[in-house]
Amino acid sequence: MNEPRAVSMTLAAIRDVLDCDVLTGGDLPDIEVTDIVASDGMSAVLSALCRRALLLTGLANIQSVRTAHVADLAGIVYVRGVRPSDKTIEFARQKKLVLLATTLGMFDCCGILRDRGLRGSI
């Protein structure tokens, strides 16, 4: 199997292809993403040691934001329609972390982003 090319997408482009809402509001920062970490297990995310990767997860509690913050990730896409609490969204704003949310499932999100050349990091 051929590995996908290492290309990048902006957060805005990812928002569009995954049909995401932007939970943290405002304009999306001009961040280029090349790597994806996709898991509901936060230790799996932490073990990736891949700064500036984008996290795809169905875990919507505050630990998802704390994990993305300490692992220096580019942001989080919540999948399959889950939504974090207002308190968690506010915490993400304080940490300047972008939160997106889509109704698509994890498998579809990963497939769409992989088709566009992004890489998995777990």
Binding site: G41, S43, L46, S47, S64, R66, V70
Partner: protein, 146 residues
Amino acid sequence: MAADVLLRKTFEVHGLDFDKAGDTSAEIKAILTDIGMDPDIIMRAGVVTFEAEMNVVMYAVRATVTFTLTEEALSIEVVDEGPGIPDLALAMQEGYSTASDEMREMGFGYGMGLPNIRKTSDQFALESEVGRGTRVFAMIRMDANE
């Protein structure tokens, strides 16, 4: 001769305090960011501290987390009062866990915490006494990314 200590700070972490789990790692990250530390080292220090904090919150009664910075290295020592670990080799095995469903709902407790700390640090030590507590030591060298 031991290297001069540039900074040392001790934090307290309490068992079952899931709301604050991660505060210590966030504070250490902020300190290292303020002094202009290499981002990869900041990330590794954050990962080590966060995993250690989650272990304390999930399993121990309380702990002290001592962060020490010298010109050569950064170290994190976590000493907890708790049940201890009966089998250290088993605890270091990826995927082995005694976590409850509640812990897994937090996104942790999949048996990766201690292995993650070892993997993320340049030096790692684990000691435990059943019925008393556990000590985790992790050191990250400043020249590790050069």
